[in-house]
Symmetry: C2
Subunit: 86 residues, 2 copies
Amino acid sequence: QGNSADGQSKSASCAACHGANGKATNSIYPNLAGQNAEYLALSLHAYKKGGRSGGQAGVMQAFTASLSDQDISDLAAYYASLAPLK
Amino acid sequence: QGNSADGQSKSASCAACHGANGKATNSIYPNLAGQNAEYLALSLHAYKKGGRSGGQAGVMQAFTASLSDQDISDLAAYYASLAPLK
């Protein structure tokens, strides 16, 4: 089970691309605010295992390499908790 | 350039999992409403080329196999145009 507050404290390096409020700073990156926590966790695990290539997959694989399962659950819970922005 | 109205007419098979309004019917699928069009197109091309594995990648690869570049741009424009839902 992810802890959203812990996720926020772990999200500093994510904010550069995904925005402090989960709205991406560039439209080639996904907005994360209000996304489904389970899907977010699945995606982070996929990047970590090298299951995604193309686009920014290389960058994401580098960022996720050091994340524990709990880190992933916390980050997923945090971004899912944010109100989606238009 | 994607055409959102054309995208809507091509989105029937997407709605089963991603919802008629772009809010996924299951939390292991991503919500698409209000996502960045460029990111959506990158993702669809990645699935089509087999650049993603794990989770529902196999299903997505099957769905995207028959999509043209214009179809992908139209679908991306359509889902990006929808108001994100909490």
